[in-house]
């Protein structure tokens, strides 16, 4: 493993045509800098873990990538588009291509798993028929069932999501994300509110999607063992800057702990 705070290794930049290029990205909140000029690029078909202490700006970075939070300055090139220059309509179409898995799964609690998954089709359809499974076209229902089957929940399709376990709800959220047919996945601590085994299953599922479909994944996780097992590359954020960038094969838990200790000491 490389030294945790060594200059960034250009592990990702060796691959041509990156799916994500971030240049000079900054974000200030009331004069306080959360992101201070980030520069990095991600190649397609890789799982990249984003680590950092609480408040280091990881979630802000993820939201800035799709302009759920507007960056203060800098550019984001994602899936071949200059995200900052997109009009509201183009931004909506762009977001449809980016699947986001949240720490809180953010499902609609009173609706069934199938209805929630069908909501993912709103990425490309604006018809009221994709508001609820009862009115959805047969092709949409079939695709949603395939997504539920992919996450192992086809037999729970008509169960209300608020009666499912935390792990099952996170799987439904992943199925909804698959229904979007995304080209890029952002995951904000998808394992945070789950027990160790369920969290591991969810992370394994995300990595399997990367391996099987060639999707790109940028995932935030506080669990070092998940970072090491389920990513190809690790980016470490500290004080609003990329302070660590290394190939996961060259990383180990002790090195990552040193990174966190150094960040806390600083």
């Amino acid at each position: 493993m490389t030294a945790p705070l060594s200059p960034r290794a250009l592990t990702g930049s060796a691959v041509a045509e990156p799916v994500l290029v971030v240049s000079g990205l900054t974000k200030d909140y009331s004069g306080r800098s959360v992101l201070r000029g980030l520069d990095f690029a991600l190649p397609p078909g890789q799982s990249t873990a984003l680590i950092g202490a609480n408040g280091s700006g990881k979630s802000t970075l993820l939201r800035c990538l799709v302009r759920l939070v507007e960056p203060t300055s800098g550019t984001v090139q994602m899936l071949g588009r200059d995200v900052g220059a997109l009009s509201p309509g183009a931004l909506r179409r762009f977001r449809a291509e980016v699947g986001i898995v949240w720490q809180r799964h953010n499902l609609v609690p009173r609706l069934s798993a199938l209805s929630n998954v069908i909501h993912g089709a709103q990425a490309r359809m604006s018809s009221p028929r994709v508001w609820i499974q009862s009115f959805a076209p047969a092709s949409v229902r079939d695709e949603a069932m395939a997504c539920l089957e992919r996450v192992g929940l086809a037999d729970r399709a008509l169960v209300r999501v608020d009666s499912l376990s935390g792990g099952q709800q996170q799987r439904v959220a992943i199925a909804r994300m698959l229904m979007q047919r995304p080209a890029f996945i952002l995951a904000d601590e998808p394992d945070a509110s789950l027990d160790p085994q369920t969290g591991e299953e969810v992370m394994a599922l995300l990595l399997a999607l990367v391996r099987e479909t060639g999707l790109s994944l940028l995932v935030i996780s506080h669990r070092l063992e998940h970072t090491l097992r389920f990513s190809d590359r690790i980016l470490g954020l500290a004080n609003g800057r990329i302070a660590l960038d290394l190939v996961t094969q060259r990383a180990d838990a002790a090195g990552l702990r040193r990174f966190f200790n150094h960040v806390e000491a600083a």
Partner: protein
Amino acid sequence: MTAVAPSRFQHRSLLEYAALLLALALVLMALVSTAPAPDRLGSGIARLFAPSGLLTQMFPPDFTRIVPISGKLLETFQMAVAGCFLGLILALPFAILATDRLSPHPLVRHSARALIALFRTVPDLVWAIVFIIIVGLGPAAGVMAIMVDKIGFAGRFFAEAMEETDPGPQDALRAIGANRLGIIGSAVIPACLPSFIATSLFALEKSVRGSAALGLVGAGGIGVDLKVAFDLFNYDEALAIILMILALVVAVEQGSGWIRRKLI
């Protein structure tokens, strides 16, 4: 060392005591100016029970005109249902436009809130008089009055319910690329449905109670018959009408309570 218990009462400033005294003075002035004098109240109550008094003449209630009165009671109920239905349907878009997160523009939001407040603040009897001028005497004016009153009532509660919903699912759908209508239809309305149903049932109860009084100003329903019965001193028939209104209101309240328990 043992902890010392804090003072039982908080220290108040002179200004706070002055405000309290002013509030008390306002209440006392209102009571002295408008409340009935005890001697007048006493003699009035005594007159109620005199041989020619109201209560004496009311009993026993006269149900000889039960068939036409039942027809009017049905009309009253129909006015309440139609006005309530139209009001609830129109309250939803008003509420959406009045909600911080869903309104397209602050100007639209403030306008929607102002209209809802106007509809709510003006009493339904006043709306009934306005609509009698517009559409003439009869149940149509009553339906319109109930509709406007319900836009004000349900619009406020619908908007509050939408403000209080978890923003997470809405943000997730926005991140997916769903449009505003999709977010409302997929996330907001399903999440608010229990609250919407409860508000709608309360609105129906309120409409039934209100619709009985609208006839007093000529806006249709059983209120017309009640006014005529009092005007002609047919107090026994008036009591029969009051008892039938009571039965209708209690039946609707029991029914809506049962539906609330079943659905929510």
